[in-house]
């Protein structure tokens, strides 16, 4: 059991899968094993794929993966779907579009539920990226939940972020929504055989023209028809261009540093939340404070002061 990290480094699928489960369950074993594999990480290039529901993210990932496999690269795929906030269950259906990859031993696919995380990612996704990286994958593709407008956490983990859109999404006001339209390193207009593709590309390009970030690089807009394998090679090349750009302008290390910052914050957040809400000593105190708040015997701010005071003393 304690050899699980060593076996992950050898690329053993069952050990990879098991360690991911431990990470998702925040088991004590996960922490000890993650410590062991960290020195072997940092080699995989991480690509985030986000975009509206039904834009064809899974199909795009399937075709991109086939192209990377043709180039002899090993690929890890993390496909995230929402966890129900009511039942805690999740229906993870991204593999439907990728069935042929199931038996390719150069590809490892893991479906994850968000398990209460907002922002389009799953809490354990940082661990899963490290595990796949350590297991020898050259490319890790992270598919977020189908986003509305605020699920932008993928930029914390990805080296290159693709925002996938489809023609006919609505007028240009809709596309200036804060957040989702600010995170793209590359825009992909998929399903480009539909009508309205020229308008979608033109609107995106005019948006990019009025944006003021990264003056030395203009965010490219690509069109693809993933189902017909069109535009995939160009997309893979554009990702390579972005990678080279990051390295040339010394932005690559800064991106990685941001990922580790987000990962550290997430580990601390999880541990603190577990400490306050799961530990038997604190749970009772929290419950009684909630009762007191309900009865107006104490206000929520004072209750928070009391709990945090106990931790920080």
């Amino acid at each position: 059991m304690n050899d699980i990290a060593a076996k992950v480094l050898e690329g053993d699928p069952r050990s990879i899968a098991r360690l991911i489960t431990h990470a998702e369950n925040t088991s004590p074993l996960a922490a000890s094993q993650m410590k062991k594999i960290h020195p072997y990480t940092g080699k995989a290039y991480v690509i985030g794929i986000t975009g509206v529901m039904g834009s064809g993210k899974s199909t795009l990932i399937y075709e991109m993966t086939k192209e990377y496999r043709r180039q002899g690269l090993k690929v890890g795929i993390i496909a995230i779907d929402p966890t129900s906030p009511f039942s805690g269950g999740a229906l993870l259906g991204d593999r439907i579009r990728m069935t042929e990859l199931a038996t390719d031993n150069g590809v490892f696919i893991r479906s994850m539920g968000t398990r209460g995380m907002l922002g389009g990612l799953a809490s354990a996704v940082y661990d899963v990226v490290e595990i796949l990286d350590a297991s020898g994958k050259d490319i890790v593709l992270v598919e977020t939940v189908g986003v509305g407008q605020a699920e932008v956490d993928v930029i914390k983990i990805a080296d290159t972020t693709l925002v996938v859109l489809v023609p006919g999404l609505g007028d240009s006001i809709q596309t200036i929504k804060a957040g989702i339209m600010e995170i793209a390193d590359i825009y992909v207009v998929n399903k480009a055989d539909r009508s309205g593709v020229e308008q979608a590309v033109a609107e995106l390009e005019s948006l990019i023209d009025i944006a003021c970030n990264d003056k030395d690089r203009k965010t490219p807009v690509l069109t693809t028809i993933a189902k017909q394998k069109k535009g995939i090679l160009e997309l893979v090349k554009e990702i390579e261009n972005h990678k080279n750009y990051l390295k040339k302008t010394n932005r690559f290390q800064a991106k990685r540093r941001k990922r580790y910052e987000a990962e550290l914050v997430e580990i601390i957040r999880k541990r603190l939340m577990n400490f306050i809400f799961d530990e038997s000593t604190f749970k009772g105190k929290v419950e009684s404070l909630i009762d007191q708040i309900s009865k107006k015997e104490v206000d929520p701010y004072s209750a928070a002061d009391e709990i945090l005071g106990k931790i920080l003393k």
Binding site: A17, T21, S87, G89, T103, I109
Partner: protein, 131 residues
Amino acid sequence: MNEKIRVLVAKPGLDGHDRGAKIVARALRDAGMEVVYTGLHQTADMIVETAIQEDVNVIGLSLLSGAHMTLFKDVTSLLKKKGLNDVLVIGGGIIPDEDVSNLKKAGVSGVFGPGTHCDDIVKFIRKNVKK
């Protein structure tokens, strides 16, 4: 610790009827489980590799074509060959009563035909899942 039961719902073979599988997948989700649904036309290889990568506790196979004796057994024997002894396998679909005991011998622990209440499947999984 925050453990969830993970279930793979798969349709082996050449059978395009996935309404039942989808209803069961939804019911298991509503019972708080994480359900990986892979869609139609899965081979035993695909199902077992997916079960490994997704580290599921349960595999639910659905088949209405009549080929369950072959296809369900393909999955359970491949699981044995790969050493996945801690995965609970259940099956559903149009399964004649006389096949049930043979399937159980082959490692399909529970068989649920038409008219099964979803709650019974949930209860069966909770009771028999190997942690």
